[in-house]
């Protein structure tokens, strides 16, 4: 028995990794993680982050924020009526989201070399 040659499932192209990981190519950038403060969220030192700037950050999103001296990766949270950036590790202090921190993009994936 051979498969029906007209079966569309057989004609489908192979899975494209870039397609899978990137929703908005024009506004997607890669950043390299430095440090372990997001280990609790499954993001480790050396991971490659797929960051999409076209997605509006919401509560609970893992985001990249731009501080005065560099980029940082944190979880966007709300405490009362104040937005804040929280590490996934108890040893790191919470940062208020104010004039010094600008939300820059949303982390969609972390790629790790085992």
């Amino acid at each position: 028995m051979t498969a029906d040659p007209a079966d569309p499932a057989d004609l489908a192209a192979h899975v494209d990794l870039a397609d899978l990981l990137i929703r908005h190519p024009a506004s997607t950038l890669l950043l390299r993680v430095c440090g372990e403060s997001m280990a609790g969220a499954g993001i480790r030192h050396g991971d490659l982050l797929v960051v999409d700037r076209a997605i509006r950050p919401r509560r609970g999103h893992i985001v990249v924020a731009r501080l005065e001296d560099g980029f940082t990766v944190k979880r966007l949270e709300r405490r009362g009526d104040q937005w804040c950036l929280r590490a996934a590790h108890p040893a790191y202090p919470e940062l208020p989201l104010d004039g010094n921190a600008q939300l820059w993009g949303v982390v969609l994936h972390a790629i790790r070399q085992p």
Binding site: A26, L29, R32, C34, L48, V73, A87
Partner: protein, 433 residues
């Protein structure tokens, strides 16, 4: 439904690209230097506010820049090219048709809503949305000029950038104002897109000083002076479109790669290395354009300022069979350097020009130069691999030995930023500590 033409261009494009992916320079004054770290070619808004002049040589400004803490960068073309592609890709989603006019500038066409033969709805709100989207997604600031024609869209863009009432918003819709005439009166005739220096001088001699005066001058006079080109300008200024968008770029007819040397080149081996380097780059361009060259010109010149007599020369070789194979082009063109080199004429600049370009698909055969199809395919596969490696791991990863290893003449780029979007080793860091 009426159509509108929009001109979108990025403000301080090079300087903005430098700041877009480097958190450490946010809000600081920054300038970008031209090739060989020569002159200031782009300034951030903060550098502009400090009064740092455009086009000024770096060595003259050095102290002033240091005093103000201005960040200085060499031109990082791979970063700007990548950001340009991102910009154009996002603009494409906003218009029905896009003409990429330069690295940081594009014309677009879109429908004007609510137009019933009259002026139609204001597109400023649309322009604002586009602008804030581009700023958020790419970190670039753009100016948006909207009008019925390309020439008027240029005018509107200028107003959006420079007029005190619109600079803040960065958007101006000339098609939505009740009377465009006062606006056209503010635009000097020299600033009209496509006018050229000679025609604008001719206009001035006749007392035509503004875009409005140009539009309203007797068409017969303009036609006698410059034929249909002038009439087209006039029509466009009057709001009837006669310059269509060119969304598919015309195939290139020439490809040129040339650079100034950081130190004068006064030996034949060094000139050969430089020419080989430029030729490999030009051949790579050719392959990405899917073209072959039928002729190669090599040109050289000395510095016009060094006191000795100026020397400038060029030589051309015609290929028996058009090619985009670096090895074939090198074999044909490198001997030209011997004809061009003069022992007592130190050279400041050299370049190669690939001419008689034809589509790569035209596989031709030559009676005297046998070249089996199988062999051609093997060469093409090899070159594709070389190009792929250089794209992926950075230009110069794989190169022809003729290019030399550590050339002294290589362009000076002492303040080059990282290839943050095009090289994996250079991506920005996200701190998690």
């Amino acid at each position: 439904m009426a159509h509108a033409t929009v001109l979108i261009d990025a403000n301080n494009f090079y300087a903005s690209c430098e700041a877009a992916l480097d958190a450490s320079v946010l809000g600081l004054p920054l300038v970008v230097l031209s090739n060989n770290d020569g002159c200031v070619v782009s300034r951030s808004a903060e550098a502009r506010a400090l009064g740092i002049p455009m086009g000024a040589p770096w060595f003259q400004l050095r102290q002033q820049l240091e005093r103000h803490g201005v960040i200085v960068r060499s031109s990082n073309y791979s970063l700007y090219a990548d950001m340009s592609q991102r910009l154009m890709a996002s603009l494409e989603e906003w218009v029905e048709e896009l003409e990429i006019y330069s690295v940081d500038e594009a014309f677009g066409r879109l429908s004007r809503p609510g137009a019933n033969g009259g002026a139609g709805g204001d597109l400023s709100v649309w322009g604002q949305a586009l602008r804030s989207r581009v700023r958020r997604h790419l970190g670039l600031s753009v100016a948006v000029g909207i009008a019925p024609t390309k020439v008027l869209a240029k005018v509107a863009n200028r107003i959006a950038k420079q007029h005190p009432g619109h600079r803040e918003s960065g958007v101006f819709d000339l098609g939505a104002v009740p009377d465009p005439d006062p606006w056209l009166e503010e635009i000097a005739v020299e600033e009209v897109w496509g006018i050229g220096r000679r025609l604008s001088r001719w206009c001035r001699l006749r007392g035509i000083a503004t875009a409005r005066a140009l539009r309203d001058m007797p068409p017969g006079e303009l036609r006698r002076r410059c034929g249909v080109v002038g009439l087209r300008l006039q029509h466009e200024l009057a709001g009837s479109s006669c310059l269509p968008l060119q969304s598919a770029p015309a195939p290139k007819r020439e490809t040129c790669v040339s650079r100034s040397f950081s130190t004068p080149v006064d030996s034949l081996p060094a000139l050969r290395e430089a020419v080989a380097t430029y030729l490999s780059r030009a051949a790579e361009k050719l392959r990405s354009q899917q073209q072959r060259a039928g002729a190669v010109t090599v040109f050289v010149r000395s510095s016009p300022f060094n006191g000795t007599s100026f020397y400038s020369n060029a030589a051309t070789v015609t290929l028996p069979l058009a090619s985009n194979d670096t090895a074939v082009l090198l074999a044909a063109a490198l001997p030209l350097t011997e004809r061009l080199f003069r022992p007592h004429k130190p050279l400041q600049k050299a370049g190669v020009l690939l001419q008689d370009l034809q589509p790569d698909t035209l596989l031709q055969q030559h009676l005297l130069v046998p070249s089996p199809v199988e062999q051609q395919q093997r060469r093409a596969a090899l070159l594709a691999t070389v190009d792929h490696l250089n794209r992926r791991y950075g230009s110069g990863t794989v190169q022809w030995a003729a290019c030399g290893l550590q050339p002294r003449w290589r362009m000076r780029r002492s303040r080059l930023s990282r290839a943050a979007t095009t090289r994996l080793a250079d991506v920005p860091l996200a701190r998690a500590y």
